[in-house]
Point group: C2
């Protein structure tokens, strides 16, 4: 395998749909995913894993049951496993998610907002 | 534990030394580290793990024995486990490393460029 340069903006240019993470890289069993988000997602938790959010462009609120973190470009946060959270973005926000391969976007909630996992671009 | 907002630029403002990664976040057993690099590092490999590089600001060359990847801000690459590599930056470059807790910066090479691991800011 030859190592490759991965350009985050170029990868974002390859998809337009929101709330549908795309995998751009994998380190051991941890995947780096890009997502476009806008509006409110569903409350959910990931029972088996922490999850990292990095804002690439725009602004999002990471809502928890008892507080809200507003994250802007160049900011990140870790959601601990089992902690309920809801991402919200007033206008489109581009984020990177770092989490183990196989994590489902809606966690333990499921439903119509569930996107396929492990979709590479 | 209350989730916190982590601002990458603010974290960089807290240290000035080069080739000395600081941990800013941890997802499961994977750490997010910031480093300032300038000049040539040593050839090394990490026998037990892949390693992710994301350039936050500036430009670096990730040298391999048979090719070189030039990475600029907003670009990333995965170095597979066991693959020899040497980071080089003509002028100071600010990077994020994502790798399992405990990884040593000089890998299997060691020597005077070895920095303490697991140093949080």
């Amino acid at each position: 395998m030859v190592e490759e340069r991965i350009n985050i903006d170029q990868k974002f240019s390859l998809f337009a749909d929101q709330w549908s993470p795309r995998v751009i890289a994998q380190m051991n069993e941890v995947q780096f995913k890009l997502a476009r988000i806008e509006g409110e997602f569903v409350w959910h938790a990931h029972e088996d894993t922490d999850e990292a959010f990095i804002v690439i462009d725009g602004e999002m609120d990471l809502e928890f049951r008892d507080h809200v973190l507003t994250l802007r470009a160049g900011e990140m946060a870790i959601v601990s496993k089992g902690v309920e959270h809801k991402p919200v973005a007033r206008t489109e926000c581009r984020i990177m998610l770092i989490e183990p391969k196989g994590v489902i976007n809606t966690g333990n909630t499921g439903g119509e907002r569930t996107a396929p996992s492990d979709v590479w671009i």
